[in-house]
Amino acid sequence: MSSKLNILVPVKRVIDFAIKPRINKAGTGIEKAGVKFSINPFCDIAVEEAVRIREADKSLVDKIHAVSIGPTKSQDILRQCMAKGADSSTLVDVGEEEIEPLSVAKILKQVAEKNNSNLIILGKQAIDDDSNNTGQMLAGLLNWPQATNAAKVEVSGDEVLVTREIDGGEETVKAKLPMIITTDLRLNEPRYTTLPNMMKAKKKPLEKLKLKDFDVDVTKRLEVLKVEEPPVREAGIKVSNVDELVSKLKDLKAI
């Protein structure tokens, strides 16, 4: 393995962050037909970070490879990743089936091994299942160090310094490659794709694989019994001035 960075960026296609999801009539999931999908915002940040690491020092990075596990349409977001700077990509087409983080991590492990990846950058969580699992699981399976919720990444040689967002502020950890990083919101601001780059991305390699190409059992460990609306808050009142607000708060024993 060369000492250069061989970055793998797993990305997920999710319902656009600005859309309020609707629960299906059967109460078994979220309505997906006719809904706008986009790249998971944290994955977008992961792609951006990989590209910025290369832009900071071209000699550092050998390759940036994007991978997505999802329906056929996930190739749209892979093209986007390549328009932003990924060199190549893999789509693991699993149809409409939702795959749990543990299985995703197992598939990613095999993709990482095949690609000789030594740095994997993922989003900290997908905004649909909100699990915040995959990066940590992948690190566990590979027995690599992990730096989650990254706010700052500095690569020097085979050492990576990561500033992480934690509950009371920040902490900095240092690890040696190979390692896993998951991105927090403030790591960077992702760029937009330009039309010329989008055209170029169409020529970049997109490998299409199926679940059966992997030796992974994706049987669900968590059985979904029900999906329901959260409790609806009762309509509140509007007050017209501060005095009313204060007396209302006193009535409610809130102050």
């Binding site: 566990g140 509950d167 902490e171 460990r221 968590l222 007050v239």
Partner: protein
């Protein structure tokens, strides 16, 4: 002639009863058990099995003694090792994995804090278990409710794994009370550390005299409407202090540099459910609501009467926050 068989059945039943425990990871700051851990201990107790608490770090005996104030635990384990300081998952996960494998625990519970979220999935991978993240309700020992899509849907899931790993959202479980006077057996856990190419370098914690955001009974949060850091400092902090509240912020306010990241409330920040949440200059984006809509009483102050925050507010005041907030602060103090 039936005796041997009967006996083996009895011992079998006793064994099962005695061995099925829940292992609960407890975070401490010095001798203090964190509020989030007290909440996850409550979640752990709701699982029905005896609860074994585990503390990890180089100096956790004082915190172990503090656990005597929690009623109904089985015992306390301490894993004392300097490598376990700073809760690096590379060192904590092999320890927890070994304990869970060898100790016949039915469940493992962590708080859904930065540390819990960092460690639990790694343990899951090592045990080949899919954890249930950020639970808000225990239905039974296998079945849990958790929010998805930024809290816009609640999913009920049943775990089919032989060992069940969960992280508990602290705002959804009352902290266990520290009123008992037990004397739990404190057992030392042998820690064998395999070196990992990772090290903790430094931390930069936000110092504040105000109540900690996640456990504060009252929270005053500011958004983009504050316009700049000076306004945030001059308006939000005095209002918070007048009612003894913690301070929170929206992503916009954090991104604009009004306050530190760690004060962000929302899907990707802290999730809070205080008795009183006062949102000032906050529009009420889905991602922000995800972090505060379970608050008991929500107050919104915003000049835009169409702002989404008014849809969840119990009491709303449409007005200019630069006039309303100082007046409110004065009148509360009076």
């Amino acid at each position: 002639m039936f005796r041997p068989i009967t006996r083996s059945i009895v011992t079998g039943a006793l064994r099962a009863q005695r061995l099925a425990s829940t292992l609960a990871f407890v975070e401490a700051q010095g001798s203090q058990i964190t509020s989030a851990s007290l909440s996850s201990l409550n979640a752990a107790k709701q699982l029905g099995n005896p609860v074994v608490a585990i503390l990890a770090g180089s100096n956790v005996k004082a915190a172990a003694a503090e656990l005597n104030k929690v009623s109904g635990l089985e015992k306390v384990l301490v894993a004392e090792h300097a490598k376990l300081d700073h809760s690096l998952p590379e060192y904590l996960s092999p320890l927890f994995t070994k304990l869970i494998k060898e100790g016949d625990y039915s469940h493992f519970v962590t708080p859904a804090t930065a540390v819990g979220k960092n460690v639990l999935p790694r343990v899951g991978a090592l045990l080949d278990v899919q954890p249930v993240s950020d639970i808000i309700k225990v239905e039974d020992a296998q079945t849990f409710k958790r929010p998805i899509y930024a809290g816009n849907a609640i999913v009920t899931v049943k775990s089919t794994d032989p060992k069940i790993l969960v992280s508990a959202r602290s705002s959804a479980f009352e902290p266990v009370e520290l009123t008992a006077s037990e004397s739990y057996a404190v057992e030392e856990v042998a820690v064998s550390v395999e070196d990992s190419p990772v090290e903790w370098v430094s931390e930069n914690l936000v110092k504040s005299e105000r109540p900690e955001l996640s456990s504060a009974k009252k929270v005053v949060a500011g958004g983009r409407g504050l316009k700049n850091k000076e306004n945030f400092d001059q308006l939000i902090f005095p209002l918070a202090d007048s009612i003894g509240a913690g301070v929170g912020a929206t992503r916009a306010a954090v991104d604009a540099g009004f306050v530190d990241n760690s004060l962000q409330v929302g899907q990707t920040g802290k999730v809070v459910a205080p008795d009183l949440y006062i949102a000032v200059g906050v529009s009420g984006a889905i991602q922000h609501l995800a972090g505060m809509k379970d608050s008991k009483t929500i107050v919104a102050i915003n000049k835009d009467e169409e702002a989404a925050i008014f849809n969840v507010a119990d009491v709303g005041l449409v007005g200019d926050l630069f006039e309303v907030v100082p007046e409110l602060t004065e009148k509360i103090k009076a």
